[in-house]
Assembly symmetry: C2
Homo-oligomer: 664 residues x 2
């Protein structure tokens, strides 16, 4: 088969692919990200690219006349036919985004990590002391209260040589599962100081890996990147569909997540901090002997190559929830092949290991007081309870706060508007109201879109300034920023000249037929009425699920002593504004606590503490799950929550006050 060279710009990355492969696939291979909400089905139109060279593209109604004039094609609908150069416009590029690694500081009373390391100064064998190599190791470990450990055949095969090469003075790494110990590594004696583990947050969108010193509990360094599976669809349902409908779909999804993690491990072990500590690259990989992952149920299944089909179909049954400990070897992870991988238990198909980890990180399952935990992502999950009981539910919140379903929405990456404030100057002669928009972008660069926290600010400001009504409709106010666009009424957040949106280097054909690179003109960043309705649906679903959860358990929001907000989304938002919109319940602000990336924090806890691992199992066992998809109460609550903040203002007294409405 002839290979074609594909060069991606502006990254300037090359990859060889076979004739007929899609540009989208080529991008995955080249480690270049192109947006693809639909997972390469040609349905979302997010993967527009400009091509120089021979491609065969299917026509699409998602391409405007202007797109076609500019040689734009859909990356998923275009086959590479020869050597080509591909220009990825900013809008199609999945930007490097701000990733929240910091977790709520965890309290480690005692370090009881997933794997422990012991120095074994073994007696040298003699005719009088003729124990076998394995029994000699076991006898020495028995002094450390490690009784009758198992060992894999692979490791046993290397034992004789390792012991003799190291003159019987070695280190042994032992893993424990359900009280049963296993020797998973035997190395030089000085390796006792080098003892590492990984905490991994396997997000649908983003994967974060932290390298942890298992001797001290310290996070040495972290790395994160997009989940390479994005090319197969943005949300879990798209991924499950991909696994079902594409030939070899499951295998490919599994390969992509494993590649993502291996890529991050490679980056971690080459990290400056690792080098500074004098840990050699190879040693570091060998000495990584324990992993804890936290991911939603679908991500956990795909990571383990378990068929996710039944997660999607009623009655929504996962293959495994309390996942047995697995060897790194069986998952093709490029660390010590005997390393043990512990996956956070998944309570149900839509309340996964990420939520178990959130609960662990929040500590709510160990407290007397009643708490609520809210994790807002593409799915919104809520958990209520205390040390004696837990109840959970999940709703398909939609990706509005993560850049989906909103025309100029984007993830929290560089160039995203993350804070917004409005000032309205009442009358401007002849031109209507002068609405000034103040915003701050991540990285303080020109804006190219709006991320979740920016959208909350924006909606709250539009609402308090009377620009939108309770139903999310844009009021008829005379102002240059309010206009009718292709998709109905819209509000201009930033004018074209201020933005970097659309300001890509693009190839245009000159009169002489040659192709020339030119900066395109910027575009206005807007929010449409349709966008606003989508955001309201998302916030309504989150609020309604919390509300149903409490009612099912016969509690009111006032009964809550604490509300934990988890997820990368959670740390940047303005609580007051989120309450004002009716996203979160109207309770005193000091009851709220942000726990940051609880998924990663909980994974780290479980990696370091046996108590936390046991608690994770206990959480699984005591948590009930309420299925909202067939719940009438949820439908009613959801409908009532499709207003700003809510149809029942009694539920939002502080908002009523702000809006100057009398509380009935």
């Amino acid at each position: 088969m002839a290979d074609c060279l594909v060069t991606f710009q502006p990254d300037d990355k090359n990859v060889n692919v076979e004739i007929g492969e899609t540009i989208l696939n080529a991008a995955v291979k080249a480690d270049v990200f192109i947006n693809s909400v639909c997972g390469g089905l040609g349905k979302c139109g997010k993967c527009k690219v400009q091509v120089k060279g021979d491609v065969s593209s299917r026509d699409s109604e998602l391409l405007s006349k202007e797109d076609k004039e500019n040689n734009l094609v859909l990356a998923c609908e275009s086959a590479v036919m020869g050597d080509i150069e591909v220009f990825i416009p900013e809008i199609s590029r999945a930007a490097k985004h701000q990733i929240l690694v910091k977790s709520k500081e965890i309290d480690l009373k005692m370090l009881t990590p997933l794997t422990r390391k012991y120095r074994l100064a073994l007696p040298v064998p003699s005719l009088e002391d003729n124990l076998s190599d394995l029994e000699r190791i076991k006898k020495s470990l028995a002094d450390e209260k490690i009784e009758n450990p198992k060992i894999s055949l692979t490791l046993l095969r290397n034992c004789a040589k390792i012991l003799r090469d190291n003159l019987w003075d070695v280190s042994a790494t032992v893993a424990e599962e359900d009280g049963r110990n296993e020797i998973i590594y035997i190395g030089p004696k000085d390796a006792v100081k080098k003892h590492f583990g990984l905490a991994i947050d396997i997000g649908t969108t983003t994967v974060v890996v932290s390298l942890i010193d298992l001797n001290s509990g310290e996070i040495i360094t972290s790395q994160s990147n997009y989940n390479k599976q994005i090319v197969c669809g943005e949300d879990v349902l798209a991924r499950i569909n991909y696994a079902e409908e594409e030939e070899g779909g499951l295998a490919r999804l599994n390969k992509l997540i494993v590649e993502t993690i291996n890529f991050l491990i490679e980056k971690l072990t080459l990290d400056d901090e690792v080098c500074r500590r004098g840990i050699e690259y190879g040693t570091c990989k060998d000495e990584i002997t324990g992993i804890v992952t936290a991911g939603n149920t679908t991500m956990s299944h795909l990571f383990l190559s378990l068929d996710p089909e039944h997660i999607r179909l009623e009655p929504y049954i996962p293959t495994a929830s309390l996942i047995p400990t697995i060897k790194a070897r069986d998952l093709n992870l490029e660390i010590n092949p005997e390393a043990v991988v512990y996956c956070m238990p998944c309570r149900a198909s839509y309340v996964g290991g990420d939520i178990t980890a959130d609960i662990l990180a929040s500590g709510m399952s160990k407290k007397e007081e009643l708490s609520l935990l809210i994790d807002v992502g593409t799915n919104g999950e809520a958990v209520i309870g205390n040390k004696d009981w837990l109840a959970s539910c999940s709703c398909s919140a939609g990706p509005a706060f993560e850049g989906g379903e909103v025309q100029h929405g984007m993830r929290a990456s560089f160039g995203a508007i993350e804070k917004v404030a409005l000032t309205v100057i009442p009358e401007l002669s002849g031109e209507g109201k002068d609405i000034k928009v103040f915003y701050k972008t991540i990285g303080d660069i020109k804006p190219k879109g709006i991320c979740g926290s920016g959208l909350i600010d924006l909606l709250a400001e539009l609402f308090t300034h009377g620009i939108i009504d309770k139903g999310g409709n844009i009021n008829d106010i005379a102002s240059p920023r309010i206009r009718h666009g292709d998709e109905g009424k819209e509000f201009v957040v930033a004018w074209a000249e201020e933005t970097s949106l659309g300001r890509d280097m693009i190839a245009v054909r000159r009169d002489d037929g040659e192709i020339e690179m030119k900066e395109a003109a910027g575009k206005d960043i807007i929010i449409t009425e349709a966008d606003i309705k989508n955001i309201i649906r998302t916030k309504g679903a989150v609020y309604a699920s919390c509300s149903v959860l409490l009612k099912s358990m016969n509690y009111k929001f006032d009964d809550l002593k604490k509300i934990y907000i988890a997820g990368g989304f959670g740390n940047y938002i303005d609580l007051k504004k989120a309450i004002l919109l009716g996203l979160f319940p109207d309770v005193p602000l000091d009851k709220y606590e942000f726990i940051g990336n609880g998924s990663l924090g909980g994974a780290r806890l479980a990696l370091l503490s046996r108590d936390a691992r046991e608690e994770a199992q206990r959480i699984y066992k005591m948590m009930t799950y309420i299925e909202l998809s067939v719940n009438n109460m949820f439908y009613n609550e959801f409908t009532s929550a499709l207003f700003l903040p809510h149809t029942d203002m009694k539920l939002f007294p502080s908002v009523a006050e702000v809006l100057g409405e009398a509380q009935e």
Copy 2:
């Protein structure tokens, strides 16, 4: 690479090999056995074959002038250079031999096999009962008191489909190790009746596999064959040398034993008895979920691909003695890949899992009374003790009783003389004494050699008739049967015209240059003085090790309540004669008990009974090992035992009586 077709006669088996491969290797590939004591090093001269076609042979002093005239070459020193036909003379052929499968009947109070099978009629999941597939299985198993079992990722990956294909009515097979359960197979519900295991005796020479019904404990059928490793050397030291000195030696030895076992499994599962019971071939393999193997320490290491190097070197340390349970998958055994393989614990480098199995089969470790166990093979092992203690030792007895080190010695195969009686007619005019030799062969065909039990009979008869003296020297008696041969004095056991020895079809070149097949003349079967000395050394080593073992523990042979004789060798010998020669101690015959193939019997016990598996571990722990190779007492005892029956006739009062000697 050009392939050469090699045809072996008289088997008429073909195999294609590459140019340059040795005939010995080609024979292994064709499943044709050629003797090779030295393991293909060109040192033993046992692999003489006759070749028609193009071979390149190294010259050898082991080939006589006559051999060369008959186109005989050493199979290990001859490279195949084209299509050839190879005639294997009877003497070079490892004959199909009588294999002792029967074991001492075992007492199974309760069937607690290595793997157990349960029918699980699972509740069909619903929105109200949304347990994951795995938790659903676990919950159902908990009703059977199987708590929190493990499961492999491979099996878990198939779970969803199996459960749904079988409409939630399935069978689950569970293995237990050290109190921890693991689900190893999920199949259709009716598979509950089909539940099999294998007991395997991995002998240095012979491998026996029994297919056991784990529901009833019954032996369905057994198969045995030579250990294919024979081509790499006949005894354990030759095998260890091969592993060390040949490139890829260990891998090859492992491959050969695995091939031997897989070949036997294939034969078992295609067996008439299996077919008669309506067990389908594929099903049968899937439903084999438990294996127990018993082998000496070297065989166990090679089976697991553990480096045997340190078994050979002082202080003789094996890599593993209490061998962890292993999956069939990791050993390339062609049965259910998740099947568990339990290897009998090996006490020391030269007291292996075969001896642990012998002890189990004898039951001596559970009795109050003092017993001795003797296993005579290439190595002789002896164990003394009772329910509270055990002591063991091992000596390199030599292969005299297995056909080695004796010119016309052979294994207990068809054509082997297994019983001998002499009548001496005092005076024959002019020709000396007329010694009549009565013998019986295995299969009642013409004799071609003498096996162990025949040698014991023969020596005892020669001794009691005064033909040999206490030192094993042949007395100067005028008789046609006593003569001087190439290797000194010899006794003719059977005349050429009675034997099939040497009576092969051989290819001879006719005057016209063509090659013609012709039956060779028969040969006398003889025993030489050198042969007799070798046998005496073997019996002396066995007796001396028993003697040292008893003395070390401050016991006398009279203190023994029971003597167990194990090993295929054991069932056919005449005890009185063995005592007469001083091989076994002179105690009342009713104290002796033959336990047959104790290795296989013990393996079956462990396969069927948890108590036996625990007892095997207890035997390992309580048994001490006495190293004879550095033991002065052994040397003295050995020297004293190099007479018939012994230098100290007080130890053999019944023999003294027979011989008419006064007891001092």
